[in-house]
């Protein structure tokens, strides 16, 4: 799995082109056509892909197995009943990795036990990855 990180705002096409460039430099296939499925989740031809962004940070996870990723500012307040932002991002990443929407009923009844990895790529932001390949490389995309 590769976590592509971009610090700033980026035009989608340009960002995906940078990712293809980085994949090619590793001898890997390009993403292929990136589109949205009927639930609005991104899909591409050659990998499983998950995208998350805040106002100024972008993370794209590219994996050989289903993956979900979520980033939030750490100073945001989680919904009532959710202990912290790490738990929230883990839950959201988990939903994405399973192709499911967020369910308020999960929050009401206490979040299910979730396996997610936490990454500290950007200071002040909480990032969780659910699913994805065991091996993980982080790639900071160049500023445009």
């Amino acid at each position: 799995m590769i976590l592509f990180a971009y610090d700033g705002k980026a035009e989608r096409g340009a960002l995906l082109a940078e990712i293809d460039k980085a994949l090619a430099s590793r001898g890997m296939l390009p993403l292929g056509q990136v589109r949205h499925d009927d639930k609005g989740a991104p899909v591409c031809d050659n990998y499983f892909i998950s995208i998350t962004h805040t106002d100024v940070k972008i993370i794209v996870a590219v994996s050989r197995v289903p993956v979900g990723v979520d980033i939030e500012r750490s100073d945001r307040r989680p919904p009532r009943g959710v202990p912290d932002m790490a738990s929230w991002t883990a839950y959201e990443a988990h939903c994405k990795s399973h192709g499911e929407g967020i369910r308020v009923s999960d929050i009401r009844s206490g979040l299910p036990r979730i396996r997610a990895r936490r990454f500290d790529i950007f200071g002040g932001y909480t990032l969780a990855v659910a699913g994805g390949d065991d091996d993980c490389e982080t790639v900071m995309l160049p500023k445009r």
């Binding site: 919904p79 009532r80 369910r103 308020v104």
Partner: protein
């Protein structure tokens, strides 16, 4: 009126000017509510009206008007 109350909740939660909100305001495209914003909004609506919003309905809410219509038929 439900719509006015919803506008007030959204305005307070997301810092959007109430005057800019209408029944047709799209939660994602127009006011850029993310999933965390939407969950907080739905939980606040549930508390305000003493109802439980069905998960499937919540996923399909697109506009403020969709939420108002749901409340009108379920409160």
């Amino acid at each position: 009126m439900v719509l006015d109350e919803l506008k007030k909740i959204i305005s307070e939660k997301l810092g959007v000017d109430e005057a800019d909100l209408t029944a047709d305001t799209n939660l994602t495209d127009d006011i850029h509510a993310d999933s965390l914003d939407k969950v907080e909004f739905i939980m606040q609506v549930e508390e305000t009206y003493g109802i439980t919003i069905d998960d499937e309905a919540a996923i399909n809410f697109r506009t403020i008007g969709d939420v108002a219509e749901y409340i009108e038929t379920h409160k």
